[in-house]
């Protein structure tokens, strides 16, 4: 008799737990079986690209599996992994007749550097990995990229194209490329803001860098700084907060 008393309660509790519980989906990707094994993975193309957050990178990422003599290995397995939000199409497979495997990368929805890992297994069934960096820009940093193209790149980017001949070599004091992490990472955001808005002399640097404070708005300059921070190599680390010790 006593067991029948609690039966409805158990039923209700069961219903509740089903209602509030959450189901997790799990996915597993299995590539085709490899027919050969390599010893090393190298990047053929598609690394260090810049794309918008959540977008497909303009060029596919192509990696090549080599044996220990450095010859391409067709039929070796390759799989890709990345931080959460990154998807690969396809995410795994075997290398083609030229030993290469190509995948389209969709970046995650958060701005930043994405370290993608390509891996293959060697004869000893051990994993061989290759790390490739890609950069995702959010709205503000893409805006910064456009402003850089228009106002900064002509002096700060040493590379010339027929449409945009670099002015860097014409300058007596060479501007820093935005990839020069060693130099730019030492400057604070306030320093960058001040040199952009007041020109080189604001930080005792060359007057060849003109002031843009009356041309660009504050949010435009902030967008530029956010973009510059993303380009640095080695990557820029925002200074952590300094807390008082207990």
């Amino acid at each position: 008799m006593s067991t029948t008393d609690i039966r409805p309660l158990i039923l209700i509790l069961c219903l509740l737990s089903i209602d509030t519980g959450c189901a997790r989906k799990s996915a597993s990707a299995a590539g085709p079986a490899p027919t050969a094994f390599g010893a090393a993975l190298v990047e053929s193309s598609g690394g260090k690209q810049i794309g918008a957050t959540g977008s497909v990178l303009p060029q596919p990422l192509v990696v090549q599996v080599n044996d220990d003599q450095g010859n391409a290995v067709p039929g070796a397995s390759v799989s890709f992994h990345g931080p959460s939000g990154v998807t690969f199409d396809p995410s795994a497979g075997v290398t083609d007749s030229s030993g290469q495997f190509s995948t389209n990368v969709t970046l995650g929805e958060m701005a930043g550097r994405y370290q993608l890992v390509a891996s293959t297994t060697n004869k000893a069934q051990k994993k061989v990995e290759l790390k490739v960096d890609e950069i995702a820009l959010d709205y503000q940093r893409r805006w910064g990229q456009l402003l850089d193209e228009k106002y900064c790149a002509r002096c700060h980017n040493p590379e010339s194209t027929p449409e945009r001949v670099s002015n860097l070599d014409n300058l007596e004091v060479k501007p820093h490329a935005f990839t020069e992490g060693e130099t730019l990472n030492k400057m604070s955001d306030a320093d960058l803001m001040s040199i952009i808005s007041h020109g080189g002399p604001a930080l005792n640097r060359s007057p060849l860098m003109p002031p843009y404070g009356y041309t660009l708005t504050k949010s435009e300059m902030q967008a530029l700084i956010a973009y510059i921070r993303m380009m640095g190599d080695p990557p820029y680390q925002a200074p952590g907060m300094v807390y008082a010790q207990k």
Partner: protein, 683 residues
């Protein structure tokens, strides 16, 4: 004796026995049922996430600030006029916390910096999804009740396009998508109404086919229709995937339907054989490549995309037509964007020879057409009507069809239940739109939309632009929308206007809001330059910028034309903001000139972008200033130095917030640069 009514086998007595116990069980059941609602509330997802947030911030240095900002309970952003009831911030608690930039887990990430405040427009305006939902599944995914899932981030700029009807500098993807809709003729077949009541217009007119027999052969039309990209990789025309006999009949109809224009075919010009290199150099110095692309040996396209690609033009154009076209394109097409170059006969012959040599015999090698029969011609006409060729091309005797393809004004919120997907395709609207652009014919047999050769990025851009075409955008209150500036239909009047139309000045230059952006805006040119310089420039245009490969072509203008144009420009294109003659062009005191030189080289370091002394200065960005004193007016130089963006919005030269004295001294220095710049530059 037992009571007659006390039957111990009543169902509830069987179950519970004692009535008191029955009462107890029923009460417990009732209590438990009553507990469901508070329990569900207690275990709700948003509470779970809010607790998670509090755990996350507890260990951070700025915990106290963050805790102070935190509001427990369901949060809501409510804008009835925008149709926004967003409870997203109930779980996305850290959205506005500037210090959470290092947090990468959702739902606690800080929102990336955008020009709008989250409270101002809410979330679903840009991200879609269900704002009023309070569970993860309902808010983000497409469920049975909701069809509007979260928009993937790659299309996020469509949100901007709902309010911003014109392009924004910071939304390149949306701008590209809208430009492609206009350029690739999408809007010729599909009506796309913008919320301000206007309809998107094509930005490039496909060539008229009414006189095509003057220009090319039926064989070329056959090869082109078979695969336009085989003739020119950059062709705008899509592939209609027609059967060979249909192409045969369409080409037969187009040739039969074509009427001749007098003067667009001319006999060979007897000229002495020119130097073989002369063609290439004439092509180069006429700056044909500013508008036309040619594939180079490496297979890359080099040149602009204003005019058609010329890689295989010799296979397409009839020599007698090409000759007449090079001499004066306006005879064949009065509306063409190509300037009338006023070439000499020798130049026409040289250019003709150079272009005809750009041929590819393989293209027409397998095209053998028998003479057309009347049945073929009439079948060709019906095919031309069936495929809507006249939507883009003018074809005499055939009217432009109306509502030829579905209206796309509201495509951005089309219900998923109304769409038919391909197998294996994700069932979302963006995937549907992108899929339709990628392979339009795959969706059903008998569809007429042609196959384009868009890249993945172009398809994403087009999808973004189309997603902005939705009910929400059409019904926004005017207070939040940013209308596009009215399109300018400016046309200069009189004789000068005729010359400017003939020279197609507006293909490159903009004046009063109309025209191209390849060359400087000329709206205030009359206040800017000195008349003598302008006349010399018409006679012999040179480039002002050392690193620029393009410059204005030489049009062989007559003295009379130069006078007419200069009169008009100097009189009409003046800024109302200052008097051109308010500062003199020479005669500044030497001390002021010297002061200006000091300012130029030290304080303002202008030499980083400009060249005054060809031997010492190297600046490659701005125009060379060696002869600026003979080119610009003093007043223009002074006002430009004071605020360049006021005279030409968007110009790169920074505003230096210069004092009047500095600007005057620099003007004196610059106006003293009368230089023989041409000789120097040539050297």
């Amino acid at each position: 004796m037992q009571p007659p009514n006390s039957n111990p086998t009543t169902w509830w007595q069987k179950l519970f026995g004692d009535p008191l116990r029955a009462f107890g069980v029923v009460s417990a059941l009732l209590l438990a049922l009553l507990a469901i609602a508070p329990a569900k509330n207690h275990f709700s997802e948003w509470r779970h996430y809010q607790k998670g947030y509090l755990r996350l911030i507890r260990t951070r240095g700025e915990a106290i600030t963050l805790q102070r900002h935190f509001r427990p309970g369901i949060q809501q952003i409510w804008h009835p006029e925008l149709g926004v009831t967003d409870r997203c911030t109930s779980c996305h608690v850290g959205l506005k916390e500037a210090s959470l930039t290092d947090v990468s887990v959702q739902p606690y990430r800080k929102h990336p910096a955008i020009p709008h405040n989250v409270e101002q427009f809410g979330c679903v305006m840009c991200h879609r999804g269900q704002g009023a939902a309070t569970t993860v599944e309902e808010a983000h995914s497409s469920t049975l009740a909701w069809e509007q899932p979260i928009l993937p981030a790659r299309y996020i700029e469509s949100g901007c396009g709902q309010c911003h009807r014109a392009g924004l500098e910071s939304t390149p993807q949306l701008n590209l998508g809208r430009a492609l809709l206009g350029r690739y003729g999408c809007v010729q077949c599909h009506t796309i109404k913008v919320a301000d009541g206007t309809t998107m217009q094509a930005t490039q007119d496909a060539p008229s086919l009414s006189h095509i027999a003057d220009k090319t052969t039926r064989e070329w039309i056959f090869a082109w229709l078979k695969d336009p990209q085989a003739y020119a990789a950059s062709a705008t025309m899509p592939n209609f995937k027609l059967k060979d006999e249909d192409i045969r009949d369409i080409s037969a109809f187009l040739i039969a339907n074509s009427t001749a224009i007098s003067g667009d075919n001319i006999a060979p010009i007897a000229q002495k054989a020119s130097d073989p290199a002369a063609g290439a150099s004439l092509y180069g110095e006429s700056f044909c490549a500013s508008c036309h692309a040619v594939q180079n040996a490496a297979g890359n396209l080099v040149g602009g995309n204003v005019g058609p690609e010329l890689t295989r033009i010799g296979t397409k154009a009839k020599p007698e037509w090409l000759r007449a076209w090079v001499r004066n394109p306006r005879v064949y097409d009065p509306k063409t964007e190509m300037p009338h170059y006023r070439f000499t006969d020798q130049q026409v012959a040289t250019m003709e020879g150079f272009l005809l040599a750009k041929s590819d015999p393989d293209l027409l090698a397998n095209v053998h057409l028998d003479p057309a029969t009347p049945e073929q011609i009439s079948h060709g006409k019906s095919l031309v009507m069936e495929y809507g060729c006249a939507s883009c091309h003018e074809i005499s005797g055939i009217k432009k069809p109306e509502n030829f393809a579905p209206d796309l004004s509201h495509i951005g919120n089309k219900s998923v239940s109304q769409l038919i997907f391909l197998t294996g395709m994700p069932h979302t609207l963006p995937d549907y739109i992108a899929g339709k652009i990628r392979q339009p014919r795959a969706f059903a047999p008998g569809l007429k939309m042609p196959q384009y050769t868009f890249t993945g990025a172009q398809i994403d851009s087009l999808t973004t632009a189309l997603l902005a075409q939705n009910d929400r955008a059409q019904n926004l209150p005017p207070s939040v929308t940013v209308p596009s500036p009215p399109a300018s239909h400016y046309r200069p009047a009189g004789k000068a206007g005729q010359i400017m139309a003939d020279l197609a000045c507006f293909s490159c230059h903009a004046i009063n809001g109309r025209g191209g952006d390849m060359a400087p805006d000329l709206t205030w040119e009359g206040s800017s330059v000195q008349r003598k310089w302008l006349e010399d420039f018409f006679r012999n245009p040179g480039t002002l910028r050392p690193a620029l490969i393009r410059r204005m072509p030489k049009f062989n203008l007559s003295n009379e034309e130069i006078t007419t144009l200069s009169d008009y420009i100097m009189t009409v294109y003046q800024t109302p903001d200052f008097d051109r003659d308010s500062l003199s062009e020479s005669g500044y005191p030497a001390t002021q000139v010297e002061q200006g030189r000091q300012l130029f080289y030290s304080k303002y370091a202008c030499q980083s972008c400009h060249i005054v002394d060809v031997k010492a200065d190297k600046g490659y960005i701005g125009p060379t200033l060696t002869g600026v004193g003979s080119r610009l007016t003093g007043a223009w130089v002074y006002h430009w130095l004071k605020n360049p963006q006021a005279l030409r919005p968007g110009t790169v030269e920074p505003n230096r917030n210069m004092s009047d004295d500095d600007a005057r001294a620099l003007t004196a220095f610059l106006m003293a640069q009368k230089g023989s710049s041409k000789k120097e530059a040539k050297r």
